[in-house]
Structure formats: structure tokens, C-alpha cells
Symmetry: C2
Subunit: 606 residues, 2 copies
């Protein structure tokens, strides 16, 4: 291991065990009865704040930390220790402390200032140890609510959290719906998968069976407590925080060259010495009882094991939701976020999601390298959650994400006005392949019903969210299952049918989800295309821009008006309206539309 970066690149490896200099304390008087029946005689919450609470008290954002985090989310000044989310939180950052009042508290049961197992039990005069009660995420959030009360804040602009922090944000949204306008969940889940649960079980067993554990009452014992078990738990944790790809990237080149460490653990192989190092550093700053309590609280967190239960538990929420996952995160994998998003959509909540392509694994949500998309997404959520005063405008860089040539070209697409005209005022609309939200913005300007977009491209999703739209990041070829039957008045597929592989499946799904369907496509049988094939023996090129040819066009289906109507006939889809457009005249096509229309718009239902 010759690359010192590899030792520090993970979430909190670089952090010291030094006391935090900017911590404030808030005392909750007791007795406090916890969800699982335990009682604390009182407790202290250690927290830090950044920026200034405005007069309206409406610029506050609560950041919730993950298992091994603490209140020190960002540095307070240049002389300060690094924070665990410096890349996101600070002056001019996506969570801009020049405008926002950011709060971060160490969780209940923690070991960095808030009351936890290593705190003094006033009843016995010794550390709680084994006597510290079991805690839940609900207990954690209750202490945060008390803190927010104490700070005089009625309603948070947003709660933002990744991993275990995201679980807390979910509870804010569902248990305290009046207290939060928006939640941003990163790399998290409404409940752990069986594999993630299994890793936690093994990690806890390593601690529980360490002879130094003494049933949890090890603070006054000679030696160091269950340091070996905790280090092994941490080693295991580290593997799950990284992806297989990122481990290859870090450790393959110098596989057989471990760093020389003075360690009780095996330090063979580059990756072995890394794990030994991480394990041993962790025990210097973390308490095994805290690990056990929080790990179990994570494992017990459960918003529902069936879609029905999940939808029921999400029902009370009134805030806007942002759900971000990372492709290589196998601890909190994207498919779990997809389940949550599906339930939020089904429950009628305002939700955007983004499944960010990343090699960094679960740790991605903490890394500056990955900030490109998740930073603007969080910023956009916070900006649109308030009146805008507390948030900076969406930066140019984000808007630029959407500026590929076709996006410009389609800003004023001929079919948009016709599609809008077909949609009744106040109708709920699902726009498939919504891009950066051109059609949805038009519809929003008219006011009215619920508007949701679906878009595969992550960058376009980010732009659309920055524009204040609700957009789900999904592939329409597979992703319509997440929308309930008859859940929208209108489902739109504009200028996309020709790029769909599973034409029948997508149309069947659209007709299931929507009371009616509106779609537009380029007519491959326009006279120009007919002549091209008949006279020149060359394939039609239906894409408006000239950069595509038969061998590289995304338009993999040649859709003609005649063929499309034949399919409608075959499938029993009723055509309620057809509009045939001629781009050359920017108006309706004259004569036989099968020959003269280059764009067709249809309204269908079953």
C-alpha cells in the first residue's frame, strides 16, 4: 500500500478523535421514555450550527449523520478540523451556509457528545454501559425535534441525510409532517435488505463475543474493551461501504505490497493492511456499545415490508421528497430506492429520484468526486422547498447540463402546443421521457393538476429537478410498473415511440396507468422518406437533426401513421383524436397525412 490517499479516501478515515471545538449542548430533562420501553433520566444533545437563522426562521436545514458520523458536518473556519460533508455544506456550497442555517446533531446513543452508553448515568454515577437502553431511529428523531423546538424553529426547510441519516429524514417526513418542507434521502432504504442485515449481525457478533466486551460494561475494566471485535466490525463495514470496482481501483495495482503496520491483525496484501489500519483507527474514536445500539436501530428501522405497508406508512407525509441512489452501492442498492420511490408515487407524494452512475459504492454520497449530480439535486430540493429567499439560484452549471443540441432544438417543439391543448386543465399528467421538462413547464405555467416526469438520463433529471419539477429517474421500458393503474389522467409519450424497443409493452403500460394516453412520433412514411427508399434505395432518416444516420440513430423503430393505426386496431386501442403536423409549414398537414405529415399526435384510450 504505497498510496496514502487510499487510506484516507473513505468516508471518515481522515477524521481525528479530537474533541469538537464548536459543539453546543442542549439538555432534555427527563425521565425520557424510549420507544422500546427504556427510560433515560435525562439527556444531552451535542450539536453544531452553521450560518444564521433568518428572521422568518424558515431557512433551517437539518443534516442527519450516518452510523459513524457526528455533529461536525463541516468546518466552521479555515483553522477547523475537516467536517464529514465539507463538500456539500459551507459558504457557497450546495447547502450554502451564507443563506441557510444548517444544524447537525450527534445522534442519541452516540459517542460524540450526545448521551450514549459511554455517558455517565446520574443514577449510578458510572457510565451506562450495558444499562443503556435499546434505542430506535424514532428515539433519535425525537431528540432532534426537541432540539429544533429549542432553537425556535417551527418548520425546517429540509432534512438531509444519507444512509442511517436518510432513515432519520424519512421519520421526520412521516412522523412530523408539519415540521419539514422537504427531505433529501441519499444512499438509504426504507428498510435494510437481508444481505445488509446479515453483515450487521456478523459485525455485532464480533463485538459481542470479544472477551473484552464484558456484556457491555467494559468502561471500568482493565484493557480496552472489545477493541478487537469493534475493529473487525469496522473492517467488515468498510468492505460494504466500498464497491467491488472501487476496491479493485484502490488495491489491485499494489495487491502484494501491504503497508508495514504495527498491528495485531493480519496485514497481508495491500487491502489487508488497509483494513487493519481502518479497524485500529476506528476503535480510537468510537465506542462499541454505540456501534451495537445504532446498528440494531438501523436493522429495526422498517417503514414496511410490502408495498401496501410502505404506502400506508408514507401516507402522513406532506413534504417534497428527493431520493438519490448510487449505481454501485450494494449496501443500500438502487433497487431499494426504486421501491421507495414507487411507493411515494403511489401514495401521491411529490417525489424526484436520481440513480447516479458511480463506481464509489455506498460511500459515494460523501465524496466530492460524486457531487456533480447529487449536490445540485439537494440544492434544487432545498431551493424549491421555500420561497427561494434562503437559497441561492440554481447555478448556471446545472442549467448547462441540459444544453445538448437536441434539448435546444426541442425547446419549442411543434407537438408541445398541440399536446398541451389536448390535456384538460387540471388533469394529472405523467410525461414519459420528459427530458429537462419542456412540456411539464408549459403545463405548470397553465397551473392545475399533479405533474410527474420520467426520464432515463441523470443529467436531464437533475436539470428538471433544478427547475422545480418532480421527475423520477427510470427507464420507461421497465419502469412503468411503479405507477399504479389509473393513477394519472393523462400519460404522455412525446417524440419517443420511435426509440422504444418494447413498443407494445410500453403502450400497454401507458394505457394501464393513464385514463388516456397522448403520444407523438415522426411519421416514417412521409413522402420524403418514401421517395428516399423507393427512388434511392436508402433508409428513411426520421430524426430532425442531421447528425443521425441509419447506423447510429436512436430511432430504432420506423413508425408510420398507417402502421400505428393498424396496431391500434389490432390491440383494440381507441383513437380519440389525431393531429397531423407539417414542420415545414408549422401547421396541420394538408392532403393525405400518411404522406404529408412529418409528425403525428394521437390521443388514445382503452
Amino acid at each position: 500500500m504505497n498510496d496514502p490517499e487510499a487510506f484516507a479516501a473513505s468516508s471518515d478515515a481522515a477524521r481525528s478523535a479530537r474533541p469538537l471545538r464548536h459543539v453546543q449542548r442542549f439538555a432534555m430533562s427527563g425521565p425520557v421514555t424510549l420507544e422500546r420501553g427504556g427510560v433515560l433520566p435525562g439527556l444531552t444533545v451535542a450539536y453544531e450550527t452553521y450560518g444564521t437563522l433568518n428572521e422568518a426562521r424558515d431557512n433551517a436545514v437539518l443534516v442527519c449523520h450516518a452510523l459513524s458520523g457526528d455533529s461536525h458536518v463541516a468546518r466552521h473556519d479555515d483553522a477547523d478540523d475537516p467536517g464529514w460533508w465539507d463538500c456539500l455544506v459551507g459558504p457557497g456550497r450546495n447547502l450554502d451556509t451564507n443563506r441557510l442555517f444548517v444544524i447537525c446533531a450527534n445522534v442519541l446513543g452516540g459517542c460524540r457528545g450526545t448521551t450514549g452508553p459511554d455517558s455517565l448515568d446520574p443514577r449510578s454515577g458510572r457510565a451506562y454501559g450495558a444499562d443503556f437502553p435499546e434505542i430506535t431511529m424514532g428515539d433519535v428523531v425525537r431528540t432532534q425535534v426537541a432540539l429544533v423546538d429549542h432553537l425556535g424553529i417551527t418548520r425546517l426547510r429540509a432534512v438531509v441525510g444519507g444512509s442511517m441519516g436518510g432513515m432519520q429524514a424519512m421519520l421526520w417526513a412521516t412522523a412530523y409532517p408539519q415540521r419539514v418542507a422537504a427531505v433529501a434521502l441519499l444512499a438509504t432504504a426504507h428498510r435494510l435488505g437481508a444481505q445488509a442485515l446479515a453483515f450487521d449481525v456478523v459485525a455485532r457478533n464480533a463485538i459481542l463475543t470479544d472477551p473484552g466486551f464484558h456484556g457491555g460494561s467494559y468502561y471500568d475494566k482493565p484493557g480496552h474493551g472489545p477493541d478487537t471485535g469493534l475493529a473487525i466490525a469496522r473492517m467488515l463495514g468498510h468492505i460494504t461501504y466500498l464497491s467491488r470496482e472501487s476496491m479493485q481501483d484502490k488495491f489491485e495495482a499494489d495487491r502484494h505490497r501491504p503497508r508495514q503496520l504495527d498491528t495485531a491483525f493480519e496485514a497481508r496484501f495491500s487491502v489487508g493492511s488497509y483494513l487493519a489500519y481502518q479497524g485500529e483507527r476506528f476503535v480510537e474514536r468510537f465506542d462499541a456499545n454505540t456501534y451495537l445500539r445504532l446498528s440494531l436501530a438501523i436493522d429495526r428501522f422498517d417503514l414496511g415490508g410490502t408495498p401496501e405497508a410502505l404506502i400506508r406508512n408514507l401516507a402522513p407525509a406532506t413534504c417534497r421528497w428527493l431520493v438519490v441512489s448510487f449505481s454501485s452501492d450494494w449496501l443500500f442498492p438502487p433497487d431499494q430506492s426504486r421501491e421507495l420511490v414507487r411507493a411515494l408515487v403511489a401514495a401521491g407524494k411529490g417525489v424526484s429520484s436520481c440513480e447516479i452512475t458511480s463506481r464509489a459504492g455506498h460511500d459515494a454520497f460523501l465524496l466530492e468526486n460524486e457531487l456533480d449530480l447529487y449536490g445540485p439535486l439537494v440544492q434544487a430540493l432545498v431551493a424549491h422547498a421555500g420561497d427561494g429567499a434562503g437559497s441561492p439560484p440554481i447555478p448556471r452549471a446545472v442549467d448547462a447540463l441540459g444544453h445538448d443540441p437536441s434539448a435546444i432544438f426541442y425547446q419549442d417543439r411543434l407537438d408541445y402546443a398541440r399536446i398541451c391543448a389536448l390535456i384538460p386543465a387540471g388533469a394529472s399528467v405523467l410525461d414519459l421521457g420528459c427530458g429537462t421538462g419542456g412540456l411539464l413547464r408549459r403545463l405548470r405555467e397553465r397551473g392545475g393538476g399533479r405533474l410527474v416526469g420520467v426520464e432515463l438520463d441523470q443529467r436531464q433529471v437533475t436539470v428538471a429537478v433544478a427547475r422545480g419539477l418532480d421527475v423520477v429517474n427510470a427507464d420507461i421500458e421497465a419502469g412503468l410498473a411503479q405507477f399504479a393503474t389509473r393513477s394519472f389522467d393523462v400519460v404522455v409519450l412525446s417524440h419517443t415511440l420511435q426509440a422504444v424497443r418494447g413498443v407494445e409493452h410500453v403502450l400497454d403500460e401507458m394505457l394501464r396507468v393513464g385514463r388516456s394516453v397522448i403520444l407523438s412520433f415522426p411519421n416514417a412514411a412521409h413522402a420524403r422518406h418514401r421517395r428516399r427508399l423507393a427512388e434511392h434505395g436508402r433508409a428513411p432518416e426520421t430524426t430532425g437533426l442531421t447528425r443521425y444516420h441509419w447506423y447510429n440513430t436512436p430511432d430504432i423503430r420506423l413508425v408510420t401513421i398507417t402502421d400505428f393505426e393498424a396496431l391500434c386496431d389490432l390491440k383494440g386501442w381507441r383513437i380519440n383524436k389525431r393531429i397531423f403536423l407539417d414542420t415545414a409549414t408549422s401547421g396541420e398537414a394538408q392532403g393525405d397525412p400518411a404522406l404529408t405529415a412529418d409528425v403525428a399526435v394521437y390521443a388514445l384510450n382503452l
Copy 2:
């Protein structure tokens, strides 16, 4: 945990610690010097055999077991204990013991009969314990070679192994090339990935730091040795043997209902009680020192960290190779098998591969549920490795795998004869999208050069391998990178261009890999198609069979003769030969081929 199956479904959970009744023993006299310098005064190999060695002594197959396996690969009779690979090995099974002589030996360093750390060291009169030397996979294979010598077998028909067993098979192929005709590798790798290595490090640390370990000399100590550490290692191992999906399948439904166990471990959650059970059963039948020795031998196994090193190390092999991986195996993931296959192809070896779609994770290679494809593949390899006498014919069921209508239809495709005629005798040929091998079989009948197929569909790969062809399971859109520049005389893409998304990329790659390229495609500008669009406004339907239409055809590109030649012109590809066919007359097209040919065949080069 209410489903007893879930406790037994994994690789060897159902196996007992009872002594094996059919074990034979072979003694190697010493001193035996091992690869890492250790010396054993002598050793015993415990093995079992099934079936009868024929007179020619050419029907022997060696099966190599994985980390926790032993010599009992299959039951010897109905009264016998289950073997760990009963589904594959036995009378009438894919490794048919009515015809084959199957040998399986417990590995050196093992704890099931072959000399290992728990064996008596004749020099001290006590168990070796900490004094047992470090071993390598090379040492393991050397004892197997000695055993095969002892059995009077000059050349094995095949060596078959999964996981660690596959590593042994690789060493047979490369270190003893004259001794083996074929190797079948399942769920294995030429060296572990960093993540798999990391899990092994954590598992070893759990054992090494167990106070019961006593540096490895625990056999005469009171208590049980490092049972806790070994159980934790096993729990961790179990997680890696299952996939995320299969853990969901097993443990989600009864997540909160653990089986009641009398255990020192945490038994919360269904999955927790499963792991506790697996951990505790394992220590009853396995030795921690064996675990450490074998785990380290696996970690050190390394056929090359770069493509160049790997190719160099594979060079001595002369056998045929079969490389099988499973899509959900994240311990030995398919991409590692792909690397190995790439190197084997580059080294000019005869290799087939199959990436089997499975939810079962690493354990898939042991499961009867997954036998459908891997069983016939192994059987085919063994059948074609000898003169056929020792193997049953490929069962009808396998042949039936290839019998979808299009496969029948294309048995005598019009373009095959023309393509064959264009290929010089003795040329090496890579056939992309080879299906069940129709063209390759024709070429093989002519005799001559090296023939390799590439096919995406696993079932078609299985049929082609059963027919004795070398076929790599890969997607040609991404998979040509594995073929070296100018490594084939001819690269063929017959009747597939119209289904390719990345037309330029695939053609560029073909022209890189082959000295020349031959391709055929249906001409979308045939007069029939022109009339259809021009007169009826309907898209051409180029697929021969009528079941496809514009909305569901796999032919996503409309390729016309004129367009194709224009692309060749644009890209500077030289057309050496063009043949235009008319299916109606089964001969060459008359008149203007752009209008009259329904199939075009081209030979190109750069």
C-alpha cells in the same frame, strides 16, 4: 425462520460430520518439500472413486472440491450420505459414473482425511497445529498428480472444479498440460478480486484473534479452539456464497421471525438465526487451521494480474477449456471469468464459456436448480475431450434447447454456402452471433483452421458446445475487445448486422480483429419493401419469419445495399466481394441488386 429448507439449501449445510465410509487412502512418502519452503515428512491423501477405470485408462475425471468440501463428491449407493455434488456426479448424471471413472480427493491441508494441520506430526507425536507449513494450490495439485500416478492414469479425460476447485483445474491445465485433455472451471477466477480478498482477511482475523486460537496450537488445549472466530468466518463466508437476491428470497418473508436457537451468537432476525446455525454447525466438522491454510492458498493463487502475465501463464496449456460463471456470483463474478476467457482466446486456446443467468450467487455451481445449463456444458466438454466411448451421447434435452423456430429455419440458410465459399480452406474464423453453430459446423466439416463462435444466448451456447464447438458467450456489441488485433483470418457476421445497435463500433472491431470480414444482411431496399413503404405507407419487414412486425422485430436497423456501400465508402472499408442473393430463386439476384436482392453478402477489409 420457519422454512427448514432455507437452513439446508446452501452448499454443504446438510452434510454431516460423520466419518466417510468409502474413503481410500494413498500415502506419499516424504520428505515432501512444499512450494513455500515447508517440509512434510510424508503425507496421506484421502480420496473416493466412482465408476470403473476402463482398460484404455482414458475415462478418468478428477473432481476438485472447494474450501469446505471433501472427497465425498457423491453418494456411492442409496444408503450412503449425500455427496456435495450428487446432482452432477452419479449413474446417468452429467458426469455419468456408468461410463466415467470419477476421482475426488480431499485437498492437502484439509481436515477430512488428507494430511492437514490436525494430523499427527510423526516427528513430534502431536498434531501439527501451528507447525503445519503454508501450502499453495500448486502443492494441492502436486498431491493430486501423485494420486493419479498411483492409480495408473497417464492422462485425465478432464479436471472439473468450482471455486477453489477451479483454481486446481487451472493448475492441472498449465502445470501438467500432458496430463489432462479438458478442464471445466465453474464460478472461479485466475485470482481473487480485491473485495473477495478483503473478506478472507476479515475472516482470518476473526480466527487469529480468537483467544482460543493459541497461535494455532489449540488441539491439546482445554475448550474448543477458536470456535467463535471460525463460526464468524463461516457466517461471513455464507453471506458471500449467496447473492443479494437469494438472501432476499430466503429471509425477507419471515424477516422478524428468527428460529429459536440455543446459541452464544445473536439470533435476531431470520437471517441472524440462519447465520448462527451455519456458524455453529461448521465448527463441528471443520478445523480452523485448515480454514486459515486454504484461505491463504486461495488468496495467493494468482495466474497473472495483467492480461500479458495471464496469457504468459496460460501458454503451456494444451487442453480444451470450459469457463462457466453465474450472473449473481459476486465472490467470483462473471467479469473475472471474462478476463480469463479473453486471455485464453488471446493465447490461442480452445475455450468455450457461458455466463449463466442465476439468482443463486456463488453457490449456484453446486445447486441442482442451476444444473440445466452447467450440467450439459460439463458433460459436453468431457464427451468431446475423449473418443466418445467413455461418455454418454449428449442428451436430447440439450439438442432441444436449440430448437426454436428460427434455428430450424436457418439450418440451411441461403447465405451459409456463399460465406463458406468465400472463406479460404484452413483459415481461422471467428463467427459472431454463431447461434447453435450452423456455419461453424459446415466449416468444421471442411476441416482446417481454428474456429471460434461468439453467441449471446446461453442456451444456444450450450447446444453449440454440446456439438463440440468452441463458443464464447458474449455480447458482440461490447465483447469484441477480448479478441486481439488480427487474431483471425476471417470474422463473420451473418444475418445479424440489422440487429446491431452500434453498427460502426462492431464493424470497426471486426475489421480490427480479422484480416478480412464477411457479413450478410437482409436488404431493406428490396423492391418488395420499397413498394410496401411507397405505396402502402408501411415499414419494411425484413425478417424472414412473419411473426415479427415493426413494433417487435429484433431488426432495429434498416440496412440497404446502397446505404451499406455508402458507409463503407465513408469509412474507407474496401469491398473485395459482393454477392447478391434472391431467396425466391435460391440463386444470385438478377437485374439491379439494390432492388432485386433480398440478402447481400460482402467481404471487406481495411
